[in-house]
């Protein structure tokens, strides 16, 4: 199957400043890609170029087989801007009916779409009275119009409460299962962990790392952390026998090791038998991996 989005050697300069440098990326149908980066790393710029809102300085981009921003591309791409905004004088339903007509779809679907994002009851109220999270959900509702092949979502869950976030990712899973490709950016690293097929780490306009979470973990070679809960009176003897172990204020003991030493350490720890009452093994989190890769560029 051909890819939904192909970017090769994309560079974008604003005057002398390079916002993006030599970025290449391929997104296959049904794939969910997360774009991570600091503010100013180039995430929003990259999305605007994919949408055809601003032109690229160099490089080739193909969106659903067409040029970005062309009529064919726009018909198949949905966008959720960071801080989605709408005219405050319109109701949610009126705004969605308008968007449906602009996409050549039946405006009668507006209430269904609002119901899918939990706004059925607020449909007849003016958007000016909505909270930030509700506006964000209007934004999500309009991305669901007419089975887009590519969804470009800039910080889609900002302003959403944890329950709405879970519902939102469930919606995305459904769309991806139907073959839609999803490119989203996020600051909340933990939530993209389980929900994406590919992670891109963008720093100073360059792709610093790309791959699956497991692949990135291996590449970053970050330590695995063990947390032991010692049985009454054994804490000191355990710390002495484990080099590099630390006593935490909670009375637990923490020790780190390299990925390839993990099993050996686990064997030793389980050998302590009744001297420990509990054990937690924590792999490096996406936050750790992210700071590892973005620190490499001196941020």
């Amino acid at each position: 199957m051909t890819s939904t989005l192909t970017i090769s050697h994309l560079t974008k300069r604003f005057g002398p400043v390079a916002a993006l440098t030599d970025v290449s990326l391929t997104v296959a149908p049904g794939q969910r890609v997360a774009l991570l980066g600091h503010n100013g790393a180039g995430k929003s710029t990259m999305m605007k170029i994919i949408l055809g809102l601003i032109p690229a300085s160099e490089g080739e981009i193909s969106v659903c087989g067409s040029a970005p921003g062309s009529a064919q591309a726009r018909a198949q791409v949905a966008y959720l801007p960071e801080n989605a905004a709408f005219h405050p004088a319109l109701t949610g339903e009126e705004q969605l009916r308008h968007y449906l007509r602009l996409r050549g779809e039946a405006p009668g679907q507006a209430l269904d779409l609002l119901a899918r994002v939990g706004l059925r009851d607020a449909a007849k109220r003016r958007i000016g009275t909505y909270s930030k999270g509700m506006r964000q959900r209007v934004g999500l509702a309009q991305t669901l119009i007419g089975h887009p092949r590519l969804l470009v979502l800039d910080e889609p869950t900002s302003g959403l409460d944890p329950v709405s976030r879970r519902d939102f990712y469930a919606l995305l899973d459904g769309l991806a299962a139907e073959g839609a490709s999803i490119l989203l950016s996020s600051h909340v690293l933990t939530e993209v962990e389980a929900r994406t097929d590919q992670i891109l780490i963008l720093a100073k306009g360059r792709i610093e790392a790309a791959g699956t979470l497991t692949g990135l973990r291996r590449e970053a070679e970050l330590p695995v952390s063990f947390t032991l809960t010692p049985a009454e009176g054994y804490a000191e003897s355990l710390i002495e026998s484990l080099t590099g172990a630390q006593l935490l204020p909670s009375g637990q003991i923490q020790i780190s090791c390299r990925q390839d030493e993990k099993l050996a350490l686990l064997t030793r720890v389980t050998g302590f038998g009744p001297r420990i009452t509990d054990l937690d093994v924590t792999p490096p989190s996406l936050e750790d991996i992210y700071s590892h890769f973005s620190r490499r560029t001196g941020q």
Binding site: L53, I54, A85, H98
Partner: protein, 271 residues
């Protein structure tokens, strides 16, 4: 076409809720009634019906008020979307920028049409109430309505142009007031100075300069047409020297020129 109509529908709703429809209509009705009342006193017997006289007064009013209303409604069209942050999303939809502006123009033209029809209509009713012969002025009234809409459409387009160029509502508002002053007030003063200079160039260039300004073309057309029934005084002389066809062509072409300029400027706006 569906996309233009949908945009127009949304814009009309927004204008309705922002009270623009009420403000525009209220202003037109109020000014038209004041003029009708002021014009009611000194007519005496000049052999012309009351409505034709009212139309001449309304023409002088419309030259100032219609462009002002049009600019007030349009200066925010693009700059406001930029400021609210609604433009990037709109531009990712499969709708061309020309259609977006055409939709806004359609809605605003309808609102102006309602405002001038009701405003002039109120003045006409006042004329009918005092003069049974006033029906003779109806063709002039209808002419005033459709030319006012054309004049308004021109300034709506120019408002979108300024809105696209400035990209900030405050800047666009300033530019709009400047344009209104320049085209509606200062332009005529400049022409007056030219006429007073009495050079041969002045006599030759004056008709073209009058036609080049949509507000002057509007005044020329309506007064020249009114002149034929003897209702217009002073300016009638200047108006008579320029054929009706030329002034009506200027009036009809300006809205398209303004919209084309606005679309060209809007295409350059990067969200």
């Amino acid at each position: 076409m569906r996309r233009i109509l949908s945009t127009a529908g949304i814009e009309f709703r927004i204008a309705l809720r922002n009270r623009w429809v009420a403000i525009a209509t209220g202003l037109m009705v109020l000014f038209a009634l004041v003029l009708a009342a002021a014009g009611a006193a000194p007519t005496g017997d000049v052999g012309v019906d009351r409505l034709s006289v009212t139309v001449v007064s309304l023409t002088s009013l419309a030259v100032y008020l219609v462009p002002l209303l049009a600019l007030l409604m349009s200066f925010d069209a693009v700059a406001g979307e930029v400021e609210r942050g609604t433009l990037p999303l709109l531009l990712t939809y499969p709708v061309s920028r020309a259609r977006v502006l055409a939709g806004k123009l359609l809605a605003h033209v309808v609102i102006l049409g309602i405002a001038v029809t009701l405003g002039y209509g109120a003045a006409a009713l006042a004329a009918f109430a005092t003069d049974p012969e006033a029906t003779r002025g109806l063709p002039a009234l209808i002419r005033l309505i459709w030319t006012s809409v054309l004049l308004g459409a021109t300034f709506l387009g120019l408002g979108y142009l300024l809105s696209s160029l400035s990209r900030r509502p405050s800047g666009a508002a300033g530019l709009a007031i400047g344009l209104w002053l320049a085209l509606v007030v200062l332009y005529d003063l400049g022409l007056l100075a030219l006429v007073v200079s009495g050079t041969a160039f002045a006599t030759e260039a004056l008709p073209a300069l009058l036609l080049a300004n949509p507000a002057d073309a509007f005044r020329l057309f309506n007064l020249a047409a009114a002149n034929s029934v003897g209702a217009a005084g002073g300016m009638g002389g200047a108006a008579a020297s320029i054929p009706l066809l030329q002034s009506v062509l200027s009036l009809a072409l300006w809205p398209f020129a303004a919209l084309l300029l606005a679309v060209a400027a809007f295409r350059k706006v990067t969200p």
